[in-house]
Symmetry: C2
Subunit: 605 residues, 2 copies
């Protein structure tokens, strides 16, 4: 799926100033389906491959071709990338990078092992994960837990440059995959659970020099919005769009982490990402001057920004005044689809809050916002009428408002749980079916906010959680096929635990992902029928990927249980409320799997 295939036209409102399209090496590499040249497959983030050797007819005969232990335990998110005969793969903390030569039976060509202060581990909110390295212009880009951004020579593994993005001593950490656009490598920062005011930053890929930084909240100059030109729901955001939605200085501890996968439209020259929850999780401490809800922009927001300047073309806030940690960081996926009968250039994302949002990707116009899990109960719907003063806003059910219920009150049975109807595990889009394949969490929670004081580098969470399946049910996940034009579930297959693995779809008509128990499964895109199943060494929170080598198609996946859902196993926690409630919710996992860290690669016999 070449990005250029999407280039039907340009919107006059977005100027194209660069003489090159995106990053030329990335465009070239992603145009060859034998590569898996980006974490996202390509700039669209569709995670779709044109390879079709493995297909619905033969995937059932697939077998393990080879395996590779990363040498590190705990949660393995992301995937390797493949460019030609070289595979590059990363590990969770300490973020080792390996280069393997596929021509030489995956021999290790080089290994890069950063020295990182392990004191970063306790400030990583939800396991020591990393979402993978990227490649551009002969360099591998690694974003370390300690927020070091490193460019490595892809041939030798030697450091070309290294820069420090933020400060782990304040709770600022790095887990997201970088995005390289033209000569800019973009990284976010995490830390909303530590009162960090988070940001995205663009660095020059050749020198590591900072080009721009866009905070998630604060003064206009900090957040890189143009009061007149940056749009939200069709209107300019206006002056102090963020500042005026916070009480006093609370924005300085504002949160808005950025750690999900990003996408990019070279025609519009816009890249897309979401921001996380406002700090703290205790909404009472974030009430407005009048003691009422206040938006806390631009937390919980998806942006379209110019990668050269960082300037926002548009912003859309999914969950104003978050009361549930519905961290809006999930990956936006670019596609050209029919929305209610009309061809649109959209970006789709499946928000933690349980709504799937289809937005016009040039303007941020809200096209569709529907629940992709029918159990979502915290809001009835999102108001779609532009004339309604509530336009674009979810309509909160008072019973599930942890703010209205008050501090130190346990709000019961909110669906979804804080880890969302989907978390970081990326969905996939298949042009074959026009459907999105979504790995989901089917989990609810009790949520009790409490007062918390801010100390730099100390947790600034302010809520106690417990998690469980929706009432009357026992399964905690669904693998969902979604029509983003209509906002409807097309089919849904139950999984015992949350599907915490990134999805791959291919021209072979299959859609594949792992499960927390460790099964790797491929299904028929049309009806969800399970066509293949294999038990990998450990629970899967990595992303399925595919590549071609010497005429054979391969499909691969990291196993290595962890992440928020697997934090109990990963960190050896046993108290049910530990891991922000995940330990109790996913306690049953220990009967199925175990810590691990390896790559399993499949092919046809």
């Amino acid at each position: 799926m070449r990005i250029n295939a999407l280039a039907y036209g340009l919107l006059a409102s977005v100027a194209l100033t660069s003489p090159v399209w995106a990053n030329e090496s990335t465009m070239k590499n992603t145009s060859d389906p034998n590569n898996w040249a980006m974490q996202q497959g390509d700039y669209t983030g569709q995670r779709y491959s044109k390879l079709d050797q493995i297909n619905t007819k033969n995937v059932g005969t697939m077998k393990v071709a080879w395996t590779f232990s990363t040498g590190v335990l705990r949660g393995h998110e992301g995937s390797p990338i493949v460019i030609g005969n070289m595979m590059y793969l990363h590990t969770p903390f300490p973020n080792i990078v390996y280069a393997l030569d596929l021509d030489k039976d995956a021999q290790i060509v080089w290994k890069y092992e950063p020295k990182q202060d392990p004191s970063v581990i306790p400030v990583m909110c939800c396991d020591t994960v990393n979402r993978g390295v990227q490649y551009a212009d002969g360099k591998i880009f690694l974003y370390q837990a300690d927020t070091s951004v490193v460019a490595l020579d892809a041939k030798t593994g030697k450091e070309v440059w290294k820069t420090v993005n933020a400060d782990p001593k304040k709770g600022e950490t790095g887990t997201g995959a970088p995005l390289v656009v033209k000569d800019t490598v973009i990284v976010g920062v995490s830390g909303a659970e530590f009162g960090v005011r988070c940001f995205a930053t663009g660095y020059d890929i050749n020198t590591g020099k900072q080009k721009w930084r866009a905070y998630s909240m604060g003064p206009d100059a900090d957040i890189l919005v143009d009061p007149e030109k940056t749009l939200s729901l069709g209107k300019p955001v206006g002056k102090d769009s963020s500042l005026k939605t916070w009480n006093g200085d609370q924005w300085k501890l504002g949160g808005g982490s950025i750690w999900g996968y990003m996408s990019y439209d070279p025609d519009l020259n816009l890249f897309y990402y979401g921001t996380g929850n406002p700090s703290t999780w205790n909404p009472a401490q974030r009430a407005g001057p009048d003691g009422k809800q206040i938006d806390q922009k631009w937390s919980m927001t998806h942006f379209g920004r110019n990668p050269d300047t960082g300037m926002a073309a548009w912003a859309y806030q999914m969950t104003p005044f978050d009361e549930w940690d519905f961290d809006g960081i999930n990956e936006p996926i670019i596609a050209d689809i029919k929305v209610k009968g009309k061809e649109r250039k959209v970006r789709v994302h499946f928000d933690r809050n349980g709504f799937a949002y289809t937005l016009d990707r040039a303007t941020g116009e809200l096209l569709v916002a529907e629940k992709y899990d029918p159990k979502v109960n915290w809001a009835t719907h999102v108001v779609m009428d532009p004339k309604d003063p509530q336009y674009g806003r979810p309509q909160v059910v008072a019973k599930y408002s942890t703010f209205l219920n008050g501090q130190d009150v346990n709000t019961k049975g909110v669906c979804p749980a804080a880890l969302g109807s989907k978390d970081q595990q990326p969905a996939s889009y298949s042009p074959l079916t026009g459907l999105f394949y979504v790995p989901t969490n089917h989990v609810c929670m009790d949520y009790e906010p409490f007062k918390v004081s801010y100390t730099a580098g100390q947790p600034y969470v302010g809520a106690t959680l417990s998690m469980f399946p929706p009432e009357g049910e026992t399964h905690m996940g669904n693998f969902v096929a979604w029509d983003a034009g209509e906002g409807k579930i097309v089919w849904s297959e139950k999984e015992q635990f949350s599907v915490w693995s990134g999805v791959l779809s291919t021209a072979g008509g299959i859609t594949c992902a792992g499960t927390l128990e460790g099964y790797f499964k491929c299904r028929d895109q049309k009806d969800g029928k399970e066509l293949y199943k294999f038990k990998t060494p450990s629970g899967i929170i990595g992303n399925a990927f595919t590549y071609g080598h010497k005429g054979k198609q391969y499909i691969g996946i990291f196993s290595g249980v962890g992440g928020w859902a697997g934090i109990g196993l990963a960190a050896g926690l046993t108290n049910p409320t530990d891991g922000l409630g995940a330990v109790g919710g996913y306690a049953g996992l220990r009967n199925y799997t175990n810590l691990g860290g390896s790559l399993t690669v499949f092919t046809l016999p």
Copy 2:
């Protein structure tokens, strides 16, 4: 291969006092080839299975059936055991034990995680390995690194009893697999690199109460020999057979570790094992009162002992006055074979010193002693003429005598290296071919002894080593088929690194083992032809095993690089002389594999 099939007759010189044969549950379980009921397969230690569904014709189509991460990195020696629908498996330190239900897709039924003081790790000479749990009478027997012997309820994983065998503070550690005979569980102890006087101990399987203890050296009462009845080379050993072969009190720091796999002959009611090197590795410190070589019995000795009393029926010392760390612990394998045309009841072992010994297992009579690696150069031969005063003794080549060359002199080019022509990795015997399949090290060394002082719990090694392939060669291992009756190599296949994995042979005509780079290979027993090869996640030092479940045969192997050969990777050592010379010798391993810890199970499509 049922042990009873070997029961052709009894030797009058060995009294059978027990009313039961061996351990009845073990006999019953090992008689069903669907089980892999002991680490050794059965009491013979042949590691041969009657299962033949996977055979020379179809093994090439074998695929991975399932995998399981143990949750622990570093060297994985031993294997799971399988009894009915249950699989029990262990890990390196901290010696976790899992029970998996094969009827339920290998779900974890219970997990036992001992609390062990990690201070035992630095006193484990050669990685944090463990050679596996055993099963008898509804109990799982675990021998921990810290020398705790634990009996677990096989159904629940609850401790039935726990006893402490020795003291890690003195350098005493546990790595070997227990042997259960009748109501006795037998364990050895390691520590020759810490000046420990080592021993084997029998405990009551129901209570954990000590029944007997047999030291490797010391007074007759300590070593459980009968001066009149215990034989060596056909003669009674006589009074003070050990004491008189040591200078002064050196025997109190005598070494003689016991950590290899043991075997047992229920007809003779004898169990078999070997003892390791005398302490220290600096032979000058062990010279006799006359300043000359002295035997240091019963280090470097294979024993046949009564499991009820510990009393030795016979002893044979392979390497008197060791000068090279040719630790004689390698596993004795019971077989009834033709020796030079005559049917004999033998036990065969492939000694670290590079000679393969075929002994009569009732009397210890020396039948065959030949080099199983033609590069072995430290001795010309073993004297086989009973009338020769040198009978049974290797004839040392002065050039390679680290004692004659002297302290602080680097003796160059000794073959094999200290880790032996074979180390702990157990060989296999196939009755189909009458051949032994031997995983070997093809490695030489430079060895420089130096003076060392004894401090309890501190290393008492006294030599610096470096290791390398034999001159003019680059490969460091061979997979060898051996005729133990004739003392001849039948075929030999090169491997790049030492073959540090235990071998399985089956009635399907195949013989399988792993490699340090991580390949699992099956060969034709007849000619060594490679019929199957698969790259597991990590380097293999575990033992191949097989079982049947619901009509299908499975073959499995642990991967997880480590052990002495892999200590550089396992412990993150980089100085070439670290790991007693292994780090330099096996430095190339890092280009192939990585730390890991998982089980890979294969079956036919």
